[in-house]
Amino acid sequence: MWKKIRKYIIPLSICLILISTAVAGCAEEEPAPAPAPAPSPAPEPEPEPAPAPEPEPEPEPAGPTKNSIVIGASRPLSGPNAPIGDAAFGPIMQMWQERVNAEGGIYVEEYGKKLPVEYIIYDDATDVGTMVRLTEKLILEDEVDILFSACGTAFISAQAPVANKYGMVLLTAEGGATIMRDALYGLPYVFISLPFSDHYQLPVFAEMAAAKGAKTAYIITIADLHGVEYGGVAAIEFPKYGIEVIANKSVPITYTDFSLLVKDAKAADPDLFCVFAYPPIIMPVTGEMMAIGFNPPAVLMGPGANFGFYGISFGGDPMTINGVTCFAAANEKTSPEFAQLYADLEALVGWPNLDWWGHPYYAPLVQIWQEAIEVTGTLDQDVLRDYIASNQFDTILGNTYFEMFGEFGGGLMVKDTHPGEIGQWQDGTVEIVGGGDWPGVVLTSDWVYPKPDWPTP
């Protein structure tokens, strides 16, 4: 009997599962929007009257009908980028949706009413090919109104031409690179928000380190676009300030044992030890440094060291990593608006998911989207693109706008919006210790150089 079950019933069941999945997929022409990263309150049935800047809504809209603004995103719900995605743009998406929907939605004049925000979020499994395919699905099949950014420099580099091809405005979140900036001349629908390597993180850091008397740097980079980008820019910027790069080593993404590499760095006795890699690399490198007592005057790590979860990864006490330098823009002390933002985010997603580099730029992105839709009164991508390209926005960063690349190019958020570039873990939190020489920079503490010793176990 069991033989027959094994021979026929189980294989048949598998086939039935396959067929039913396929049939279900075919039958569902308009897939139901997936939930946002976390449950959000249901939109109010009767929207409140529109706030001040909005025109009076028509009682009976004559235009097309629509019940929600559908926003699509291909995000890393699994794979190596998932921790970054969950703690970076993810919390901002979640918070914004909850706020907007609690107010009844965004007023869109062409529909004559407030529309709540709905998300369709797919898992790209941290694979560029999957992300590209899912982005095309969001645009072509799901026909989302707005496209949100993928996560990671390589990912937004691949997503930008695709979004541009279909005329979808893309305000990028996690990631940025010189290669993308160069490509902006041909990407009119793409706007880069996050500061990156020579815009202006590494020049600022090099100047800070040189002022403290640093002479040598040992660099480890992850062997992908982020690592090549930062390793390459450091090799250009550091010598400009008299800092010799004594090693610039690239490690594959799959590398797990850093003991030899950290020992090699310790033997080289550098003034600056830079690790331009993601959490799966910077975490074990930090642990290895603590284990062998490698404590150079400055340790710069990122991305990853700019998140709360990095602080509690070494025994649960963020004091253990005091002195580690990271990329950061703003914190609770930068302004009352930022204090509110971080308080709200902490209440929503917890302290470990705070990001002192990305959140100060992702929060303005959703503000820009909202203002563009409310003022233009449409979801038309060309209209929205032109509005974003030609206007300045009053966001949490202050006056925020994009430098446009050529007559038919995309935009890069100008450096004047950056309140800071470099942060440092001090007394269990990230302080902003380095920024450019433009107005609007708010440093919350002095850079501690040399860094304090690792705590003794």
């Binding site: 048949l12 897939p31 590209v132 699905k137 090549v228």
Partner: protein
């Protein structure tokens, strides 16, 4: 020419079905949505990788995990010759170049390593993927100082038709090889390599040539796939997933018949797409479950199951007919 061979039931029905499918595919951009065209392109890519893999590994029994290396070489050929700043060579020429370079690498690697057997060959071929990936990383990092490469955009219909053309060529090649003495030699190698050598088969040459032919199609598919990705770096190009997916798809579909890997790739790719989009938080779990169950309980793939069921039905019908005869 033996006309009866081509008009017999055994050739006519599969031939007609193939023709109908081909017509449906060729006309797809006229009746299907743009996203359907994109999805079918993606499925065709997986079919090409799977059938190419089966072309070599199926009959010879050599488990190659080098698919990602050959596919990646094609992707990189595209990144070099079709940059977003303007194509250096025409698209079709690059498709051929990508295929030929992959073939040449396969010839070289095959000549050196196809004396290895079993697990050693599988490990070596996977090592080849990692080696080329790291070599690419080192080259980009220290020699060219390239920070990723953008590939020029190509119209979705053009990508679809070129992928379809590669698929049709591959199916024809597979069909002809399977029916030729060359295919027989490959099968004899799979059955017993020593015996094949004793009866005069030049086993190394047969293996190396087949390896190179299968690599050609993988490389050619890589070229056209890169124009969909639009951004390429070594990790994107030499993604080890492309070494394992064709193996799973082939096992899933069944390797006994020419259409087994095709069916496996189609269902697998479609299932992946549907699960990924309908159940974004659980699809890996469901996918893993289906995969484990399929490998445990469908040792001959879906085709094996269908054949088993067909035999059961025939036996049941025969039994019924015999009973009826006995009653009369």
């Amino acid at each position: 020419m033996n006309i009866t061979r081509f008009t017999s039931k055994g050739f006519l029905i599969p031939g007609l079905i193939s023709l109908v499918i081909l017509i449906a595919l060729v006309t797809l951009p006229f009746y299907g949505s743009l996203y359907n065209v994109i999805m079918v392109t993606s499925i065709l890519m997986y079919i090409i990788l799977t059938v190419s893999w089966v072309l070599f590994s199926g009959p010879t029994g050599y488990m190659s995990l080098a698919t990602a290396a050959f596919f990646g070489i094609g992707i990189y050929a595209s990144a070099i010759f079709l940059p977003n700043t303007g194509a250096i060579l025409p698209l079709l020429v690059v498709v051929v170049i990508g295929g030929l370079v992959s073939s040449l690498v396969a010839l070289g690697v095959g000549a050196l390593t196809l004396r290895l057997r079993g697990i050693y060959f599988a490990i070596f071929t996977f090592g080849l993927v990692v080696l080329i990936l790291e070599l690419g990383n080192w080259w980009e990092h220290t020699v060219t100082h390239t920070r990723g490469r953008f590939v020029m955009l190509v119209d979705n219909d053009v990508i679809f038709y070129i992928m379809l053309a590669i698929f049709v060529l591959l199916m024809l090649t597979t069909y002809l090889i399977r029916r030729s003495k060359f295919g027989l030699a490959m099968r004899s190698i799979g059955e017993n390599e020593e015996a094949a050598a004793h009866i005069g088969v030049n086993v190394t040459m047969v293996k190396v040539i087949t390896f190179a032919i299968s690599a050609f199609f993988m490389g050619a598919a890589g070229v056209i796939w890169a124009t969909k990705l639009t951004y390429v770096d070594p990790y994107v190009a030499f993604n080890p997933l492309f070494s394992f997916m064709p193996v799973l798809m082939a096992i899933f579909g069944g390797m006994g018949q020419i259409y087994g890997p095709v069916i496996g790739a189609v269902i697998f790719a479609y299932l992946q797409e549907k699960l990924q989009t309908e159940f974004p938080y659980y699809y890996m779990l469901i996918f893993g479950f289906v995969l484990v169950a399929a490998i445990l309980y469908l040792p001959d793939g879906l085709i094996g199951l269908i054949q088993k069921l067909w035999r059961l039905i025939r036996r049941w019908r025969k039994g019924g007919a015999a009973k009826q005869d006995a009653n009369t």
